[in-house]
């Protein structure tokens, strides 16, 4: 899966282009049972899904807003339109997608990326996936890659078996909200023994002002199969606060392997309260590559539950908190079977008063003997106004384990900048080089076009602060 791909460089300006709103249907602001029924009717869903949504709404209303981590007191959930449907149905050829929406994706480089290197692309514009395709041979092998809304109807048995069983609507207020109003997202099913050689990718984009994004991603990788799934996200800037409360559920069966990579780059007014979880069976493996950029507030802790003997997980994460941003990110690993292993590598950068908070959990249950785990957290602060915290929680239920933990917090060194500048490199480029070097262990885990995008994002984030 080390397939490297080539793509044109992405310009930051394109993330900020706002298209005129032109929707067929916009739900009333605020959340009522009527709205939920309307969403479900509009989607033409089976009855059980409507019931699930209504139950979730009830739970949502009864749960308090979490008071730990980020300050969510400014978040006005009642004022966010939960469901916005773009004025188009799903297309299978790029030519049929409306020009304006197509241009947005063209600017983001999506069709080019697909043409050049990817096995399949799903692009979500506001709440519905407008475009979908997958290589013919994967279809022949029984691989299913479609949007979640279609999956509910076309692959009802699989969806019903897995949907919101790993992240339930009782977990927290935002998982309940998600259960009530979820829309769009990706569904991937890889049958037993099938190796998907090229990465599948989906790209999300929020365009309507004040629209929440509640996409649901459900991936099932059956016994002995393998998949690399890539998700990229971006949203233009708005003055109204946006909420993102997606859910990602990943099921990795015996001897299966899943690599799930995301680079999230949200607009600076976004509340990104996303829940991601995977459960791994015997000798299976989950690999997370997670980049968190943008947003006003992020709370994101992808979780790996290693429930089969010999299962393993690897988490590689990068967080960049700039001015006005509070990014509370990390990962959770639960070792609930013997001889499971995990690796966590987390890096964070903060600048211009940004605050990066690493919050991690490592739990080993009493029966899980022979566990091996390594946790590494490194933080780099680019100035003395910025903040960085590390809170790794480790709960070990037995003594036959091998756990390593290392945390480093540092500032960018004037001596290093001087050294690079003495070779003709400008101060700005010297700082960028140091930061890119700091995240290099993560960049090299990404396919080339994402590595390029990550480096561009870093360069853009650094601009304007150096002079």
């Amino acid at each position: 899966m080390a397939q490297k791909t080539q793509i044109e460089e992405v310009d930051r300006g394109i993330y900020d282009v706002i298209n005129p709103e032109n929707h067929r249907f916009v739900a009333d602001k605020g959340l009522t049972e009527d709205i939920i029924r309307e969403i479900s009717r509009e989607k033409n869903e089976p009855e059980w899904m409507l019931e699930f949504r209504l139950k979730s709404l009830e739970i949502y209303k009864s749960k308090p807003i979490p008071t730990w981590g980020a300050d969510l007191s400014d978040l006005d959930v009642e004022n966010i339109v939960h469901y916005v449907k773009p004025n188009t149905d799903m297309k299978h050829s790029w030519d049929e997608v409306p020009e304006e929406i197509k241009q947005t994706f063209e600017r983001l480089g999506i069709p080019e990326a697909e043409r050049k290197s990817l096995a399949g692309v799903g692009a979500q514009y506001d709440s519905e996936v407008v475009y979908h395709s997958m290589q013919e041979d994967l279809i022949k092998q029984g691989v299913i890659y479609t949007d979640m809304d279609s999956a509910v109807k076309q692959h009802e048995d699989i969806v019903r078996k897995y949907f919101m069983t790993l992240i339930t609507n009782r977990d927290h207020k935002f998982s309940a909200l998600h259960g009530a109003v979820w829309s769009g997202g990706s569904f991937v099913y890889v049958p037993e023994g099938v190796q998907v050689e090229l990465p599948l990718q989906s790209y999300f984009r929020l365009n309507a002002k004040g629209a929440g994004q509640f996409e649901h991603t459900l991936i099932v990788v059956e016994k002995g199969a393998s998949l690399h799934f890539i998700e990229g996200c971006s949203a233009p800037k708005y003055s109204v606060q946006n909420l993102h409360a997606g859910a990602v559920e990943l099921f990795v069966k015996e001897e299966a392997k899943l690599r799930y990579s995301t680079i999230e780059n949200w607009s600076r007014n976004m509340y990104n309260l996303n829940t991601k979880r995977s459960v791994v069976d015997k000798n299976g493996r989950i690999e997370w590559v997670s980049g968190s950029f943008g947003s006003r507030v992020s709370m994101l802790y992808p979780m790996s539950i290693l429930r089969g003997e010999g299962a393993s997980s690897e988490f590689t994460g990068i967080t960049f908190a700039a001015k006005g941003q509070y990014l509370d990110t990390g990962t959770k690993v639960v070792h609930s079977a013997p001889n499971t292993s995990s690796i966590v590598n987390s890096k964070s950068i903060s600048k211009d008063g940004g605050h990066a908070f690493y919050r991690g959990l490592l739990r080993v249950t009493p029966n899980a003997v022979g566990v091996k785990s390594t946790v590494n957290c490194e933080s780099l602060m680019l100035d003395n106004r910025s903040k960085s915290d590390t809170l790794p929680i480790i709960e070990i239920g037995n003594d036959q384990v091998d756990i390593g933990h290392e945390a480093k917090i540092g500032r960018i060194s004037d001596e290093t900048i001087f050294y690079l500048m003495s070779r003709g490199i400008s101060e700005a480029e010297a700082k960028a080089m140091i930061v890119r070097g700091f995240v290099e262990p993560i960049t090299k885990e990404l396919p080339l076009e994402y590595a390029v995008e990550l480096n561009n994002l870093i360069t853009l984030e650094l601009e304007g602060t150096i002079g």
Binding site: S413, Y419, L420, M421, R423, I425, M433, G437, V439
Partner: protein, 253 residues
């Protein structure tokens, strides 16, 4: 033809005076050596010339390639043709030697070097320095031994082709074989269009490099300049006699 002319250069760190009036002129094609005891201000001179932010210039003027050096930012000094081989090169994780060399070459020369030709040239220079090509893909100075770091400095000098290279205690931390390789390379890089300023307190390097002028720096001032015989004098008498000379000089002033 002058490459650098230093007039009455004085500097401070945190309010304490280190350089107390340096006068020094280096012409094209010359190799100068500055010797002196620990704490005399040798490394300070190198750092002040390169523009280290914690050194404050309080007086004096430096003309480099016809321009006011002290007016330039650090990177501009490098672009003008000044190079410093650091006594303690910085480790930069995640930045490969190859990437660093190409970026620096691009900045200093103003053009992006052609990949294949550049790599060929660099590998030749590495072989002259007895450096393994594998270092190209290593992170800059990270996990390098003292000797490898110094060789890497000279490799950068070879790639960047400066007008004036200042070598700050490049011999420290090197074994005898490495010292020979490093200074033979430096001697080869010397030509009629550039100049080299070697800072050291170890006069054995004079077996490998032939300076035109030797200076003795004591307590922030150059107290004596001369030819190679001055180095022999230091060898025999040590620096004490020069310190006394300084005292005499300040008494008579």
């Amino acid at each position: 033809m002058q490459i650098i002319k230093i007039d009455n250069l004085k500097s401070e760190v945190d309010g304490s005076a280190i350089l107390k009036g340096i006068d020094l002129t280096i012409n094209k094609g010359e190799i100068h050596v500055i010797m002196g005891p620990n704490g005399a201000g040798k490394s300070t001179l190198a750092n002040v010339l390169m523009g280290h932010p914690s050194h404050e210039v309080t007086e004096g003027k430096v003309t480099f390639m016809g321009k006011d050096l002290l007016d330039m930012k650090v990177d501009e000094r490098a672009k003008a043709g000044l190079f410093l081989s650091f006594q303690y090169p910085q480790e930069v994780p995640g930045v490969t030697v190859e990437n660093f060399l190409r970026t620096a070459k691009k900045e200093v020369s103003g053009i992006m070097p052609m990949m294949t030709q550049f790599n060929k040239d660099v590998k030749k220079q590495m072989s002259d320095l007895d450096m393994d090509e594998k270092y190209l893909s290593r992170y800059l100075n990270q996990g390098f031994s003292g000797g490898e770091k110094k060789k890497n400095e000279i490799l950068q000098m070879a790639v960047l082709n400066p007008k004036l290279a200042i070598l700050d205690e490049t011999d420290s931390g090197l074994d005898v074989d490495a010292i020979r390789v490093v200074y033979e390379t430096v001697q080869k890089l010397a030509n009629e269009n550039n100049a080299i300023l070697v800072i050291t307190h170890y006069n054995k390097i004079l077996n490998y490099i032939k300076p035109d002028v030797v200076h003795v720096l004591v307590d922030g001032k150059i107290v004596k300049s001369g030819d190679l015989s001055l180095a022999e004098e230091i060898e025999q008498k040590g620096y004490e006699s020069f310190k006394n000379a300084l005292d005499d000089a300040s008494l008579s002033a």
